[in-house]
């Protein structure tokens, strides 16, 4: 009886961290419906989640290859929420509060904000160094997509 109890405790002790690790290892963005787009002047074809978060929180202004980039945002909606959830790790209010901190302390200007995917694509296509995000189902003619690693 005591042996089976010990075995059960041991199994739980091993399985619980293993299950946790598996959950953490599961890529959250495996079925992401959001795609990151960039102006063709951006030399990189991929971007790390770490660099993407820094770029969209104002902590960085360039990507691998040295291209200076500027983020552009959607005003709101499910694509915006998914992008923040997957890659920034902040709620919309905290995200905007962060940008206000940078703006009013003189550390940055506000990123341009657009109402729709089409407007973002149009702006990114004609603006050197612009990086944005849209729904995977939206057309993104004239811009390149960045693979998020």
């Amino acid at each position: 009886m005591k042996t089976s109890l010990r075995l059960s405790v041991l199994l739980r002790a091993l399985l619980f961290p293993l299950a946790t690790l598996l959950l953490l290892a599961t890529p959250q963005h495996a079925h992401a419906q959001v795609v990151v787009i960039a102006n063709n002047s951006v030399s990189a074809n991929e971007i790390s989640r770490y660099d993407l978060r820094d770029l969209f929180t104002g902590a960085a202004s360039s990507v691998k290859g040295g291209t200076n980039v500027s983020p552009v945002l959607l005003k709101g909606g499910p694509t915006h929420e998914e992008f923040l959830n997957l890659y920034v790790g902040k709620s919309d209010a905290a995200f905007r509060a962060g940008w206000r901190s940078l703006l009013f302390s003189g550390q940055s200007t506000m990123p341009r904000t657009f109402d729709s995917d089409a407007e973002i694509v149009e702006y990114v296509a004609r603006t050197h160094g612009a990086v944005g995000y849209i729904s995977r189902s939206s057309s993104h003619t004239g811009v390149k997509t960045l693979v998020v690693k």
Partner: protein, 388 residues
């Protein structure tokens, strides 16, 4: 008591509201990369006993108003210029329009940038943003480290900043550095001089002197976790007047270290900071021995907030401050428990409600305003803000 000088700010609020309704919202001119932003807040204060920072808070006061206008442009990819002005009123403090900052910023790359002009001082966790009400849950930041009566003096300096970041790889995060230097001016109405004013002294031009400082922040590989340290060196002097007698005051030289950490993950934020301010403030008058006021203030706070819904955030902090060199009394320390809530009606309009349970009178309770000072007080704050 609602003072007549609130009227111009009410006009600013109305203007801000009109701008919100405008389709451009924050006006951005594509060709010049010119942006206009701003915010305005109105606070209401009530203390059950003692009046706070020159307001008549014991009877309820609306004498807490701010309005900020920010103009910035990015004519070239690496160059930004900007200016920000502020109307500030808190009881006996402010009631004037001042220059927050006016600067030219040139960012060579991620690793190196320069900022010159009147620039915000990158000190501690929140110094650069302590005045930006829309960015915080709190109506009032922990007074032990960020006293509002000294805010305008400590917020910025005339001079420059060198800044940048050094990536340490995804396994080790990133190191962000900022070094700064120039001249700091403490205005004659700064809260730091309140005890002197209570004793009948005046400082016609405040104090000025060199300031140097540096901040290192390690953005750890744990997403949302950063820890850092700052140190500032100051040495300020000024003119001191008592009953027609001309004298001088000298603060320092002194160093003030800050240590801090913050963790942000989705809806949760946890932060803490420690500061030590140790200096001698020396007053000299002709034919009299110098009077040295020794100050050794050790302060810290711990705070946490959680976003309960998309529009509603709640949090609490504990703020502690003790002047180890002051005589034993309730004016040498302050312990403050604060419970705060914020509701965002939309991306531009918000309201805050905050309750403070204060033990000790070290910050905000002036002897001249409180002839029958009580050692404890409870303070209720309501605040409304608009930003665009």
């Amino acid at each position: 008591m609602i003072r007549s000088h609130i009227l111009p700010v009410a006009g600013s609020l109305a203007l801000a509201t009109l701008l919100i309704g405008h389709p451009l919202q924050a006006q951005s001119m594509d060709d010049l990369n010119l942006q206009v932003h701003g915010y305005a807040t109105q606070g209401f204060l009530y203390t059950n006993q003692n009046s706070w920072n020159g307001t008549d808070s014991e009877g309820g006061s609306a004498a807490w108003t701010e309005a900020v206008v920010n103009l910035s442009a990015q004519p070239q990819e690496k160059l930004r210029i900007g200016i920000q002005t502020r109307y500030f009123l808190l009881g006996d403090y402010g009631n004037q329009i001042t220059l927050d900052w006016a600067q030219v910023d040139y960012r060579v790359n991620e690793h190196l940038g320069f900022r010159v002009g009147k620039v915000k001082s990158p000190l501690g966790l929140l110094n650069e943003t302590q005045d930006i009400d829309p960015a915080h849950l709190w109506a009032l930041l922990p007074q032990s480290v960020y006293p509002i009566s000294s805010r305008n003096s400590l917020l910025s300096h005339f001079g420059g900043i060198v800044y940048g970041a050094v990536p340490l790889g995804e396994s080790f995060g990133k190191l962000e550095y900022r070094g700064y230097g120039g001249q700091r001016i403490l205005s004659s109405s700064d809260g730091f001089f309140q005890q002197l004013r209570d004793l009948g002294f005046t400082l016609p031009n405040g104090t000025t002197g060199p300031t140097l400082g540096a901040t290192l922040t390690w953005h750890t590989p744990i997403s949302g976790l950063k820890i850092g340290a700052s140190e500032e060196y100051d040495h300020e002097t000024g003119e001191l007047v008592l009953a027609g007698m001309q004298g001088t005051i000298e603060n320092g030289p002194f160093r003030a270290p800050f240590y801090y950490g913050q963790y942000e993950k989705k809806r949760l934020m946890i932060a803490g900071e420690y500061e030590r301010l140790r200096l001698n403030s020396t007053s000299r008058f002709p034919n009299l021995p110098a009077f040295i006021n020794q100050i050794d203030v050790r302060s810290f706070y711990a705070m946490s907030s959680y976003k309960l819904t998309r529009k509603f955030t709640a949090g609490a902090y504990y703020s502690y401050s003790m002047n180890m060199k002051a005589p034993v009394s309730s004016s040498r320390f302050q312990k403050d428990w604060a419970v705060s809530t914020r509701y965002d009606f939309n991306p531009y309009l918000y309201a805050k409600a905050e309750q403070h349970f204060i033990d000790g009178t070290a910050w905000g309770f002036n002897a001249s305003d409180n002839p029958a000072m009580q050692p404890t007080a409870r303070m209720t704050i309501l605040k409304f803000g608009v930003s665009f």
